[in-house]
Point group: C2
Amino acid sequence: MNLKQLSHMLSLSQTTVSRALNGYPEVSEETRRRVMDAAKRHGYRPNPSARRLATGKSGMIGYVLPTGAAVDIDPHFVEFLSGLGDYARSHELDLVLSPADADDEETTYRRIVANRQVDAVYLSSPRPADKRLALVNTLGIPFIVHGRSEGFDFDYPYLDIDNEGAFHEAARLLVQLGHKRLALINGNDRETFAIHRERGMRRALAASGLALGERHIRSATMTEENGYRAARRLLEDSEPPTAIVCSSLIMALGVVRAVRDLGLTIPGDLSLVAHDDVFPWLRPENFPVPLSTTRSSIRLAGARVAERLAARISGLEEGARGEVWPVDLVVRGSVAGAPG
Amino acid sequence: MNLKQLSHMLSLSQTTVSRALNGYPEVSEETRRRVMDAAKRHGYRPNPSARRLATGKSGMIGYVLPTGAAVDIDPHFVEFLSGLGDYARSHELDLVLSPADADDEETTYRRIVANRQVDAVYLSSPRPADKRLALVNTLGIPFIVHGRSEGFDFDYPYLDIDNEGAFHEAARLLVQLGHKRLALINGNDRETFAIHRERGMRRALAASGLALGERHIRSATMTEENGYRAARRLLEDSEPPTAIVCSSLIMALGVVRAVRDLGLTIPGDLSLVAHDDVFPWLRPENFPVPLSTTRSSIRLAGARVAERLAARISGLEEGARGEVWPVDLVVRGSVAGAPG
DNA sequence: CAGAATAGCCAAAGCGCTTTGGAAGTCTCT
DNA sequence: AGAGACTTCCAAAGCGCTTTGGCTATTCTG
């Protein structure tokens, strides 16, 4: 069933039927109802390919997926996707993942924009002065950044959590508990979120006249192994920290293992706080010692990004609106007063 | 730059230019070269929307993503995706994720094939007599199943690992080590992979005159917490197992925690083997006691599925070829002879 | 060397939708 | 009653590609 058949069936022109279906005003209410009815009854669905060709709109949102033998997709991605899907489903929005060589995402961005494959894109894990962001901005396709960049002379729409505030609060709590030597096990420090977290922590320490020594910061991709290594390094130092703030639950697993291997205990010898993106399959309350966390559901963020993307596509949202979500600090058994 | 302009520029018809570009034989080699050159020089890229409308082919592969507030996307998905992306990238194949209500995926499948949004789809986590599989089979769109179903009177193309063989081997090893009371902590037992694993284990036990008691099988979605609960249940039983085979690394985390909580040790009191899909962020050799595993890279599977999907789209692969990958058994410190 | 086959090219007809630029019909106002 | 302003609909021109059905030369057959 296509437009031609449907309109013939109704003894109307394709124009009128098309307009009736798409809610244009220049068609009488009665006609519109008649058309709508017939369309529903015959299960008419406009052919998206044809519509695309005519309008240039695809009804899809895009994401450029960096790939390569050495590139691992972050498991956070899947949770974000859950949220995105939740929203997209109810709006018949599809998501197209365009895999790109991690060393050359630009070509792919240019391609999907030139081809008008998607109506909007989102970017994630931005870095300061991220090239992708500048590119997408000049290409003129609607977009939203999940996270933030820095160092641009233009504004852009984003959704981010208050990483700085979260780690500020976490550190402040630890300081209040009497800790003087804090350490940070961060994610990849070329990404903005990691920079913000470090900044938050430094600010909290500075407020009490303390500092975060260079040897007390470790940064690496967020795997269990890297958490372990970082913790070993820190704890075997001559001046080991009495509290660690950690950028991810997965790394925290490694930290816990290191603490055990060294015969130490949480929170007796070490207080631990980690950031929790809320995975269904790994929960901080189920750590050997329930883990204190800064918590923010990445899934909710996914849904919100989808919602805003949809709004931008339909012109309901404009401008460079930034949105920053507060982060909960959830205190559990893994923190205690500083030892000794 | 579109076809019209390009052909005008070459003083050729659109027909000829189109054919030259698409490798049709009825154009002379010299002309083809001339056309190819000009196309490259001017960066001509055929408009995919137009091509789609004309041919019905989209150059994308599809995946229907079950979503919903109560639905969690498996973290394995992201690893599979890495592999898929690896292959797809080099072939300019995009992947479109169509989120669907987990209770009604059928509508979405029908939509994407009716709309010809994708040239092929893949299914994952199939169950016995999986409706999606029957549906996709009758809809006539090229597809590949990642995993296997059972109980159909037709064959279908799939890629699966030898789950039965893997768990057979794992159990056999444990039996050889003298274990008599084995337990299985499985994934969702409505999925075929879980059924196969159970079958493999039963077969190994039966071969030695042993059996897998109902109380020694637990099945749940693969989270740390479920692993913990299952292990507690098993180990606090009046006849606790001396060895556990576990369907995932994430669940194994929970098992390890339970063992600790109960004051037991691995492998002294309990031998443990788990299946490892090879996550970059959680490695069995880094468990408190290095974990023995049945190992199969889900990422490689993703790449292979993409490759076969591409082959099916271009008609290079036909028929219902099933492909089953063997699984490595990797023995590490978490297994030992049965206690006392 | 006539007739058949083949190679190489082209005009035009789709693919199924949206949108432009009217054209008729109906009302309103002076 | 005629001019202007709406309202409601339509024919036809795209969107940019592929593909069908020829139409010329050129080459091959017997």
